[in-house]
Amino acid sequence: MSWQWFHRLGSPRWFYQKSAAWLPWLGVASLILLVIGAVWGLGFAPQDAKQGNSYRIIYIHVPAAFLALAGYYIMAICGAIGLIWKMKLSFVVMRAAAPIGAALTFVALFTGAVWGKPTWGTYWVWDARITSMLILFFLYLGVMALSGAFSREQSGDKASALLALVGTVNIPIIYKSVDWWFTLHQPATLKLTQASTIDPSMFYPLITMIAGFYLFFAWVLTMHTRTLVLQRESRTQWVRELLQPPAAKA
């Protein structure tokens, strides 16, 4: 098997040129899925027997929480790849993933609070799942703060990658918190290995929204990575040629 693609993947320039073609596809596909999922879930899915219409916030809350965790994985795995194979682009993706993941964690926490008021009668409780999500939010902020604290970019990359890896110990705790501690938050409804405990009429719009959020994440991540690549490589020849209009060069 040829490893050429893998080595090329490490080149910021190659990524910048190739990813331009991916952007419209990702953007259109994610918007289509998000619109279909939102209209289907918010407008046409049946009411919940116990929660009425208030359950409909799962169409935002659940995908955001999924991506908050997936974003941490992406950040930590990219950090590990960067540390092991010294791949420049991997660190750039890691840095780009941090603010997006933090934003989605915030969305999950916020929509959870909004949902909590009608169902539990309170915006905030120190429940295991909620508290561990809050810690996830702080972990993201810590990685972002550390990566920006170093004057030498490469040191910031490596240090924040190491911190992201250390922080992964919290991820399984978040996943299992609803099963280990029986507190207010309900146990997982979507399961990979068994039948889900949700009716198909509510499940299909939800899965559409989750797919849409994944594509949205990929889209925003690609755009942010492209911006960071341009910033980092701003002194190289190819970026100068790209950003300077041809007339000005003469």
């Binding site: 508290t131 810690i135 702080f138 972990l139 902020l141 810590g142 990685v143 703060a145 550390l146 604290a149 170093f150 004057s151 030498r152 490469q154 040191s155 490596k158 240090a159 190491l162 911190l163 890896l165 250390v166 922080g167 110990v169 919290n170 705790i173």
Partner: protein, 248 residues
């Protein structure tokens, strides 16, 4: 100011009671380094006393802020003592590798052919011996001042002893990551606090279980498990972080 610091740390090394030099500490240098570090720690008494003073002073503030009602204090005692222990550990952590980084001995340690795991473990062990352990020993006195129930003293002491050791280990990773920065204080708190949370939960859980009349062995077992995992993994991560910081 930095020159002065450098001077004191160099002279501290020169006055070591045995005939050795940090650069020539040979493998297995764990116990040698442990002795060196302990000697240094005992000579800089303020490093030992200051976290304890901080711990006691802030706890004395609490009844002033919350009110002296014994009922309220007794319910909050375990949590307050644990949070203060956490803050005292965090504050003292910043200087864990600082002096060695400034005078270059950290670089000498990193240049040795042996893994950095044991030097880091020795430094963390000394840090716990001079901050975490005295803090734990002091905790029953503070528990008494805050009207903690009688059943809580022993679990508080044991859980603090186990827990502060984990805190020292976890915090060493943060201290190593930020040692190359000029003002790491707040950043260190920001990146390490989230990792302290499990220790805090099970630490206060131990005392609460004892006060409620249950067995607190499960919580202590989890604290012990966290300590075992931290002792195995945290020095590795800290050693990696030191190498990153030295490149900066």
């Amino acid at each position: 100011m930095q020159a002065e610091q450098l001077q004191t740390s160099v002279s501290a090394h020169r006055d070591l009671p045995f005939d050795t030099d940090v650069a020539t500490v040979h493998a297995p240098g764990f116990f040698t380094l442990l002795r060196t570090e302990l000697t240094l720690a005992v000579r800089r008494r303020s490093d030992i006393v200051n976290p304890l003073l901080f711990f006691v002073t802030v706890l004395a503030m609490m009844p002033l802020g919350i009110g002296p009602d014994p009922e309220v204090l007794s319910r909050m005692a375990a949590g307050l003592i644990w949070v203060m222990a956490l803050l005292a550990t965090l504050l003292s952590q910043e200087s864990l590798f600082r002096g060695d980084y400034d005078d270059g001995s950290l670089e000498q340690l990193a240049l040795q052919p042996e893994p950095l795991y044991f030097p880091v473990l020795a430094k963390v062990l000394v840090h716990w011996l001079v901050t975490g352990l005295p803090l734990s020993l002091l905790s029953p006195l503070l528990g008494m001042m805050l009207n903690l129930g009688g059943a809580g003293y022993l679990p508080l002491l044991i859980s603090l002893a186990l827990g502060t050791a984990s805190l020292s280990l976890i915090g060493a990773v943060g201290a190593a990551l930020t040692v190359a920065l000029r003002r790491p204080g707040l950043l260190l708190a920001l990146i390490i606090m989230p990792l302290y949370v499990p220790v805090l939960i099970f630490g206060t859980g131990t005392v609460q279980a004892a006060l409620d009349g249950y067995s607190y062995a499960p919580q202590l077992a989890i604290l012990g498990g966290i300590l075992a995992a931290a002792a195995a993994l945290a020095p590795l991560a800290a050693a990696g972080a030191i190498r990153i910081s030295l490149e900066n």
